[in-house]
Symmetry: C2
Subunit: 265 residues, 2 copies
C-alpha cells in the first residue's frame, strides 16, 4: 500500500529536520523535493541523499503543480515529499494533501521548523504580537504592488509586529536582499505616505535564520542601508509596540540603539 509523507526539512542544513522526519524519510521508497517555494540554507542535495540513503528527485513548479507524479507514486509505494521550512506553508502543498485524501492515500504530515516562529524567536520578540505576515515581491517593469505596504500600515496602527518575507526566485537564484527590501519600503513610503516608516523607524533584519551563520540586526533605515547585513535569505520585521523585554532583546541581541530602552521608560 502506498503512503504520502509530507516532511518539512526546517530552515537549514541536513540536520535541521526533526528526528521523526529523518526516521520516516529513511523508510520511504521514493523521495521528491521542491525548493522553489522556499530554500533550505546550506544543504546540498547529495548530502541529503547520503543521510537518507536514497536518491531525491527535485521537482520544478510545473512538475509539482501540473503533473500527477507525486500522487501516482504515493498510490504505489511509500513516498516522501520534502520542502524547506514547515510542510504545508504553500498552497500547492495543501492542494497535494487534499488530492491524496481524495484518492484515499494514507497521509502523514511531519512538521518542520518554520521562519514563522523562528524569526520572532531569534529576535526575542513575542510571537503572539505579530499581525499578518507580508511578502515583498521584486519590483518588475516598475510595478510595485501596494497591498504589502497597506497591510504593514494596518499592523502598525494596531501596535503589532510585522514579519516581512522577501521574494525568492529559486529557479533564477534570485533572492531579495534586506537592502532591496528597505529600498522597497522607502519607495513605497514616498509614494503612499501613510507614515509606515521614517528616518527614525526601528527595523529588524534577520539573516539566514536557523543556520549556524544566523545574524540579527535592528536599527534605523539609513544605518541599516550602510551596513553589511549578512547574506540572504533575509527576513525583515517592523516592530510594533515593544514590551521592555523586547526592547532589551533588540539592543542586546540585534544591536538596536540603546535609546529605544529609554524611550520605553
Amino acid at each position: 500500500m502506498g503512503e504520502l509523507i509530507f516532511a518539512g526539512l526546517g530552515l537549514s542544513g541536513i540536520d535541521g529536520m526533526t528526528v521523526k522526519a529523518l526516521n520516516a524519510l529513511k523508510e520511504c521508497d521514493v523521495i521528491f523535493a521542491e525548493f522553489y517555494t522556499s530554500t533550505l540554507i546550506g544543504a546540498e542535495t547529495d548530502e541529503l541523499e547520503n543521510v537518507l540513503g536514497k536518491k531525491i528527485k527535485i521537482l520544478g513548479r510545473s512538475q509539482v503543480e501540473e503533473s500527477d507524479v507525486i500522487i501516482e507514486s504515493a498510490k504505489r509505494c511509500r513516498t516522501g515529499f520534502v520542502t524547506a521550512g514547515d510542510a504545508m506553508a504553500a498552497t500547492t502543498h495543501v492542494d497535494l494533501l487534499i488530492q491524496a485524501a481524495e484518492e484515499n492515500i494514507s497521509v502523514k504530515v511531519l512538521h518542520g521548523v518554520s521562519i514563522f516562529s523562528a524569526c520572532s524567536s531569534s529576535l526575542g520578540l513575542q510571537p503572539y504580537k505579530f499581525g499578518r505576515t507580508v511578502t515583498l515581491p521584486f519590483i518588475e517593469s516598475g510595478y510595485q504592488p501596494r497591498s504589502p505596504y497597506d497591510n504593514l500600515v494596518v499592523n502598525k496602527k494596531e501596535g503589532l509586529h510585522s514579519m516581512i518575507l522577501l521574494d525568492i526566485r529559486a529557479d533564477e537564484s534570485r533572492y531579495m536582499s534586506a537592502h532591496q527590501a528597505l529600498e522597497w519600503l522607502i519607495e513605497g513610503e514616498n509614494k503612499w505616505k501613510c507614515n509606515l516608516i521614517s528616518d527614525d523607524t526601528l527595523i529588524c533584519v534577520a539573516s539566514k535564520i536557523g543556520s549556524n551563520d544566523e545574524k540579527v540586526f535592528a536599527g534605523y533605515p539609513n544605518d541599516l542601508l550602510k551596513k553589511d547585513l549578512g547574506e540572504p535569505l533575509h527576513t525583515l520585521v517592523i516592530p510594533g509596540k515593544l514590551h521592555f523585554m523586547e526592547s532589551y532583546a533588540l539592543v542586546h541581541l540585534a544591536g538596536a540603539p540603546h535609546s529605544i530602552i529609554e524611550e520605553e521608560d
Copy 2:
C-alpha cells in the same frame, strides 16, 4: 569555557526535536528543562534522558525566573536549556538569553517546531493570513478578561485567521479543553456582543498537533460542543476570509460542512 544552548524540543515525543538539537544536547554537560510555559506531548523525562544520555533537571517557574542556577551553570560548563515548542517563545527565555549575553556567555539558539506554524499547517490554512494570536485564560472567580475577545474581533474585521492558544497550568495538570474554550467564547459573545461568533460561525479545533494522535476538526460551535474533540493540548482557530483551497482543506481534512465551499463560489 561555559556555553548556554537553548533548544526547542518541538511539539511531541522525544523525536520531535531537530537532529541538530539532539546532537548539541548530547554534547552538553548539564541539561535543564522547563515545562510550565508549554508542554511536550507524549514524552516522559526518563525517555528523554535515555536518548540524550544524561540526567535532566526539571525546573519550576521560580527556579527559572528567580534563581541564577542556569546562568551560573552556563558560566562553568556547556549547559542546555530545553523547552517544548520553539526555544524563545516565552519572555522568561528571552530574559535568560539577555542575561547570558550580558555575562559574555557564548549562546546558541536551536529552533524547534512550534504551534505557531504547525497549527496552520495541519489545518491547511495559509500561515501569512493569521492576525495576532490570542490566549484564553481560565475564568477564575467569575473574572473573564475582555482583551482576547477584542483582539479576535479586530482580526475578524480584517478578514484574518486567529489562532487561539488555551491556558496551560502544567503545575496543576490543568489544560483548558476545546469545549471550555468554546464556552469561553460563547460567554464572551453574550457579554460583549461584537458579532465575533454566532451559531453559524465556522471554528477549527486542533488536538495534540505534532503528535501521532493529532486530530483536526472544523464546524459550528453547537456541533463542536457535542463532539469528542480528542484530548488537550487543544488549539482553536477562528478562520477569517477563506481562499477556496483553504475551504477545501477544512472540508477534506477537518470535516467542515461542505456548504462552506459553495458559499465561496
